[in-house]
Symmetry: C2
Subunit: 347 residues, 2 copies
């Protein structure tokens, strides 16, 4: 990397220029490298080519600590760039959407790490992973609301005049009960309650014990505390869905509660931003992201959340993104850079 670039001048080299977009969730971190695009196409469906892509583990500093988070971020970015075949000097901007960025302090800390990796002229942007997820549904434009329900859950929205709001995203202790972790923890609880007489019989007991190769619910305590990582527990969600599809009342109640919880989270953001307009019928996109919201055979959590939302906000337009959140982050990098260049008088 050198200092030969002036970021106020667009020259031939711009054609080879690339940006990095990164999506850092609770379970994994994905980085992509795409060509820099300095015009927004009217065709919202234009999917940019991914030149390079790399995957690593969790980079949430709240979960894995600062040192490991930093190392993971650096490694996955370098790998995506290397896979793209682009020169390090071709990187014009980097946008990170990272879970665990809840506060300007978090943002500044990660910007400091990035500043040590990239030369001064590279533009750096750090956002909560929800912002990148919204951009993945809107192809880089920040308007509407996104709901992420993977291991954790969060809703984030942005109004046309740039106001932002979020709800949930605090992790299990602070009540993200519609998340994959939340659903699975409720299922584990239901097994223990059925076993000790506090709750009704449930098919979840045999299903979960068989899947974990445990002989009795008494062994669940040891299993849980051997490694209380959220992702390990959230991995039980497909079993809950299977039991619900097979007619288990307890599993159905857990999923119904999750739907209510997720819909409540989105509604809180819509209301605070006034996304639905004064008459309540205004149109706005609602982007659905994350493993919990992926369409399942019969029990489709994402569809049920949409059904609940549409009753209150008929103008909500559900969007299932065509690109992954990391590409959303990369498109954000392009758009942020474009806006800066416009402000500096370069079209």
């Amino acid at each position: 990397m050198g200092s030969e670039y002036d970021n106020n001048v667009v020259d031939d080299k711009e054609k080879e220029a690339v940006v990095l977009g990164l999506d850092g969730g609770t379970t994994s971190t994905i980085c992509v490298c795409i060509p820099l695009r300095l015009t927004v196409s009217d065709d919202d469906d234009h999917v940019p080519p991914v030149l390079g892509r790399a995957v690593a583990g969790c980079s949430n500093h709240n979960s894995v600590g600062e040192t490991l988070a930093r190392e993971t971020l650096k490694q996955v970015m370098m790998e995506a760039l290397s896979n793209s075949g682009a020169k390090p000097s071709a990187v014009k901007a980097v946008c990170l959407g990272v879970s665990g960025v809840n506060h300007p302090k978090d943002q500044e800390q990660i910007l400091d790490w990035l500043r040590e990796i990239f030369p001064r002229h590279v533009k750096l942007y750090v956002q909560n992973d929800a912002v990148a997820a919204l951009a993945s549904g809107s192809m880089g434009k920040l308007h509407g609301c996104v709901l992420i329900a993977g291991t954790g859950s969060i809703a984030y929205g942005c109004s046309k005049d740039g106001k932002e709001a979020r709800a949930a995203g605090g992790g299990p202790i602070l009540g993200d009960w519609g998340s994959g972790y939340g659903i699975a923890a409720q299922a584990l609880t239901a097994v223990v309650r059925a076993h000790d007489g506090r709750g009704p019989h449930t098919m979840l007991k045999d299903s979960i014990l068989k899947s974990l190769s445990l002989p009795s619910p008494d062994e669940l305590i040891g299993w849980t505390y051997a490694d209380p990582s959220w992702a390990r527990i959230a991995a039980l969600v497909p079993l809950v869905i299977s039991c619900a599809e097979a007619g288990d009342g307890v599993a159905n109640q857990i999923l119904d509660d999750a739907v209510a919880e997720l819909a409540l989270t989105v509604k809180a953001v819509i209301r605070r931003l006034g996304l639905c307009g004064e008459d309540g019928n205004g149109q706005f996109p609602i982007v659905l992201v994350g493993g919990v919201l992926v369409a399942n055979k019969n029990w489709d959590i994402g569809q049920k959340v949409i059904d609940s939302l549409m009753k209150t906000y008929p103008g909500a337009i559900p969007v299932r993104p065509k690109v992954e959140p990391a590409v959303g982050a990369a498109l954000l990098a392009c758009n942020f850079l474009m806006r800066e260049k416009e402000r500096n008088g370069v079209k």
Copy 2:
């Protein structure tokens, strides 16, 4: 310590003999040394003299890991013995009531640790801390039910014919929602929900933020994950009680839910053991232990649990123990030893 003792023979030295009782909870570990007592007094109110006492931190191997748990147990026992002025050779029996003992494997592991510390003739007993808590209310006799609600929660019961049952005690992931941790986690959740628009306004917000010196609920995420120890979060319970006493609806709902949850836990044990007899009116003690159940000014969680239980089981006799659970463990050591001697033909 020597090998000069024959535990089948009661001689003059028996008069100086002592036992150790230990209560290892999620937050702290307490060990006491009391004189060996080989007869059960008809006077249930006889409180044994505590010759020595020592306090240490958490010894739950699920929480702090094996090495630290082991070190903590050893240290606190040696300190209590040293404080008593008794010779190490005077120790005849040791009974540990430790949270995190959920399985015969846990029991065997701790017995192995103890075997390395004490000579062969010292009798060693390892129980879940709930057993010691029950003994603290019944002065060493195992009959009835105990409810512990401190940082965690568990109900444990024992029928006259020696059948045992427990409910809850799995920690927060497995649904101990009436515990101190459970109550405080619900309160933190309520603050975040009030802030992001998912829940109603609550006095808990100002109360908790002021107590933690945090400027905004956004900072709670960082605070929570900086140190997610259960005890640190459970320490917020008095704030929830204050807000409930001041009329806050959200705080009152959290405490009402905790009462319902704790009563459900006890009822599951009573039902499984048939403690109430066939007509449902049989008498049995119900021992209340732990910070959450201590009588508070107006909002008395323990009393409300009792009120709920008495509606279903009018023969339940509430007991607030006169001695601490560590003394209960020591009395258990005496009783276990007495039974062994009786079996061996020595009165």
